[in-house]
Symmetry: C2
Subunit: 259 residues, 2 copies
């Protein structure tokens, strides 16, 4: 299944917070056989959230938003998504029950700010948040799946399994391996990457990630990865590619640092 990730929060857009959530979500989805097509980061503004959501829904089958589910004034993800999709909001009884249970167990009142976290679009269901209080949201809308989870990393992390329980696992196995080479410039190695990629008919990705300056002390990480229904075959093919990478690197007098 092709996913889009929507990271919501002024603090992410303006660079206060580095978007590690998107990386974690993407990693999790790929390890579970899914594909990630785009990540969009936008501010806590209804129109911005709507524009981003529409973009992702155009190209993806499922969207996971993170951030903006909490009790404060600027936590407007769920209401913005509802408005954007023209779906009415209602109190989700299950969400309310979860919230009441959590605060009652602490002898705390369910204030308006806390109740707010139980407002969900009609027809949606809740994703349980075992770490924090704001429940997540799952809505099926015109054959697309929309999930909203919190932005606090501990809470976000705890809810990913529940998403894959709903979508199911994808069939694609993903394998990635890397070789680190010193002393070869990226532009020198480029034709060999092209050669290996062409031999693999673009079924395997061979990517160079330069880790330092091209001239003074070149270090390249060559990443070889792919997706396949046949894990054994993928593993074999990637190993063969890595052998070629090592052979070419040695011929070009590169030093293989990590293999």
């Amino acid at each position: 299944m092709k996913f889009g990730i929507l990271s919501i929060g002024n603090e992410v857009v303006k660079g206060r917070t580095v978007n590690t959530n998107a990386s974690e979500i993407a990693n999790f989805l790929i390890q579970n056989g899914h594909e990630v097509a785009y990540v969009v980061t936008c501010k806590d503004e209804p129109d911005d959230i709507c524009n981003s959501l529409n973009f992702l829904l155009e190209y993806c089958q499922a969207v996971i938003s993170s951030g903006g589910l909490g009790p404060t004034l600027d936590d407007i993800t769920i209401q913005s998504i509802s408005r954007c999709l023209k779906v009415k909001m209602e109190i989700n009884e299950h969400a309310m029950k979860l919230i009441e249970e959590k605060y009652s167990s602490m002898n705390l009142p369910v204030s308006d700010e806390r109740k707010k976290m139980a407002m969900m679009p009609e027809g949606s269901s809740t994703l349980e948040n075992s770490v924090g209080t704001a429940p997540g949201m799952f809505l099926k809308h015109h054959e697309k799946m929309i999930f909203s989870i919190p932005g606090v990393p501990r809470e976000m992390r705890g809810m990913l399994r529940g998403i894959v329980d709903i979508t199911g696992k994808g069939s694609l196995k993903y394998i990635s391996r890397e070789v680190k080479i010193e002393g070869i410039m990226e532009s020198t190695f480029a034709p060999y990457i092209k050669k290996i990629s062409e031999e693999m008919k673009n079924k395997i990705y061979v990517k160079s990630h330069p880790e330092s300056a091209e001239f003074s002390h070149p270090i390249l990480i060559i990443e070889v990865y792919g997706y396949s229904d046949d894990e054994k075959d993928l593993d074999y093919t990637i190993s063969k590619c890595l052998d070629q990478v090592r052979d070419y690197a040695t011929k070009l007098n590169g030093k293989i640092v990590i293999s």
Copy 2:
């Protein structure tokens, strides 16, 4: 000026590489008086790059792409942007000169892979890369500004100044300050944030970033920030807001850890 950031690279989308570039670029722009509206991350695929670019151009006056400028087969940013905007590619003489100078100084030939980095859309100009070899690109297209810079952080970083030299600085001063509070739940503090925000008529942002679990040991970072043409007034207003935050926190028996 309202900017969009386009981060290009399979390694970013699939979560291998955390998108620190987008944070650095956003920080730099905001420190220079500009606004960042969206960040989009996409794969090294022509259609994905085009879809992302079109989305950003719809809502922003300027777009900065990072990644995909190098010598390898999958470095396709410039050609994808050109194709997307239906602008012909040509050898940019200035870019070629920069590339030839760099490689000649090392007694290295200008191979096809190296020449490729001088191909630019018609009408574009180059941004000098003082750290690496791939020059950046600047194109004005239908009153929008498009900048392409490398994804290698050292190279990206070295080219931001050149972008603001072209756009000029924005007039907005940005100030952000934070208070760290222990022992108050986000949902408990939420009405006070609402109160302060409303008094400020939403001209100042007061944001709570929970740093731990809501129940067991709540830690909140309260961030107060804003943008204004009048730096002195902004500074004063933010100080006043922070005083209120500290007062409320103390009344609620919170412990101010960092102020």
